[in-house]
Amino acid sequence: MVHLNVNKVRKDFPMLATATPQGKSLAYLDNAASTQKPRAVLEAIEGLYTGYYSNVGRGSYWPATRASQAFEYARERLAGFIHAASAKEVVFTAGATDGINKVMQSFLRPKLQPGDNVVISEQEHHANLIPWQQACRAVGAELRVVRLLSTGDLDQEHYDSLLDDRTALVALTAVSNTLGVVNPVKEMVTAAHQHGIRVLIDAAQHVGHSPTDVQAWDADFVVFSGHKMYGPTGIGVLYGKAELLRETPPMAFGGGAIRDVGFQETLFADIPHKHEPGTPNLEGAVGLAAAIEYLQGLGMRQIHEHTEHLTQYAVMRIEGQEGASILGNPKLRAPVVSFTVEGAHPHDIAGFLAEEGIAIRAGHHCTQPLMDQLGVPGTARVSFGMYNVKEEIDLLMDVLKEVHAFFA
């Protein structure tokens, strides 16, 4: 396998050449929050607005025909990228949060009964927790939460014990955005399917980092966000099995998603359009397709391998730092490492690092209940993208050492 040429990759990302107001060059280690964009994404957006922009799916003039083509081409690109059986299974959303809320509103809510339950895990991001929590509260259903083992891995026995014939849905993250745990998605989906339970996978932290195959997972719904996979903000995908998308009522209502409208009645269009009312985010779709082409050009396996090496190195270095401790020690780790430093509050750690141009995240990472469970108010978190290099980790460690000394 050819390795990733990181120096070449770095040149494709204009943001990596920026410097902080203090003149430090940026070491961007907050990729779990959002990733930087390659120039190809910018060029695609510029190409759209200077070359063929128009509303999608309605006009029969050029450039409307060209714009519609670009939109459906993006959908096909996405379908290929996640190995969907058909482009019809790809619904564009505003992001992972939007996708989860839509499944909650249109798929879960109409069938959720008092006494039913929804199973999630202690790892869930607020986006994959609060919608289910609020649906359960509204209906009188139960939210069941799969426990963590001390490694951070999910307790599979506990998971199995939570599934029963009143389970309306399992909603599970593929990767913990806080601990970096990679969950055994396929096995967990299989377990749920044995009870006839549908499964939504939150792949926000997965799709940009490792090859993703929704059919191999056999997941029923999968959501993710463009901005975490080197694409634009404001766009995301809800994958759903065709039969499920067909039987689910429209996720919202409006133009372009219908076949026939009277004042008192509406006949809806076929999937995916039925779930995409209104003018779609063409800019987002075109930008995301460009990001995917860029990723595929480099190779997802190559990208995965590169960030995996960085992560192993970072874990080793942080473990070696006096006063520092890593949270979680999972079997499989995504490029995400959470840690604390004795005596120093995570926000102070991040503040010191920021002064040197090193961007990391501190706080609860939108996983407050997980923090409560781990008994920490927050963590410092580094997360890697395809453009990060070992030297950035060395720089991080130099400053962490000083932070420890300063606050100890």
């Binding site: 799916g57 309605r58 029969s60 025909t65 372009g256 076949r259 269009a269």
Partner: protein, 145 residues
């Protein structure tokens, strides 16, 4: 005036669109299909009466541009009397005639004038859907059964 686009609206097509064959509903239809072009909102209902594997009668009704109307008219007219196998062959032939991706020239595919009238659609790929919307729904919902 622009001659290229006039080529698309051959006399045949114009005539057919103004005075279409087989326009109307068909009582006793065994199959009622909906053809819909979400791009522009054109919409036809196709009524077919199929007995003993043969199209006994066919009508269409709906709303759309001259191309889509003329093509629905020709479709219903030509399908009458055809066996399902013959209809399948006809649909395949028509789709080739109008497809910009087809390499064989329309004239080498057929010499039926009413079909050849649509061959200019090859030069207007964005109008291919107008020419084919009714034909495709027949193929997808009737012939794939």
């Amino acid at each position: 005036m622009n001659e290229r686009i006039k080529g698309l609206y051959k006399t045949q097509i114009l005539a057919h669109s103004k005075n279409p064959f087989q326009e109307g509903e068909l009582e006793g239809a065994t199959h009622v299909l909906q053809a819909y072009n979400s791009m522009c909102g054109d919409k036809y209902t196709l009524y077919l009466k199929i007995e003993n594997d043969r199209v006994e009668d066919a009508y269409f009704k709906g709303y759309g541009c001259a191309i889509s109307k003329a093509s629905s008219s020709i479709l219903t007219k030509k399908s009458i009397g055809k066996s399902m196998e013959e209809l399948d062959a006809l649909v395949r032939l028509f789709l080739k005639i109008v497809s910009a991706k087809e390499e064989v020239s329309p004239e080498d595919l057929t010499d039926e004038e009413e079909l050849l009238a649509f061959s200019a659609a090859r030069e207007f790929p964005e109008r291919e859907i107008c020419a084919t919307m009714s034909w495709k729904v027949v193929q997808e919902e009737l012939l794939k059964e």
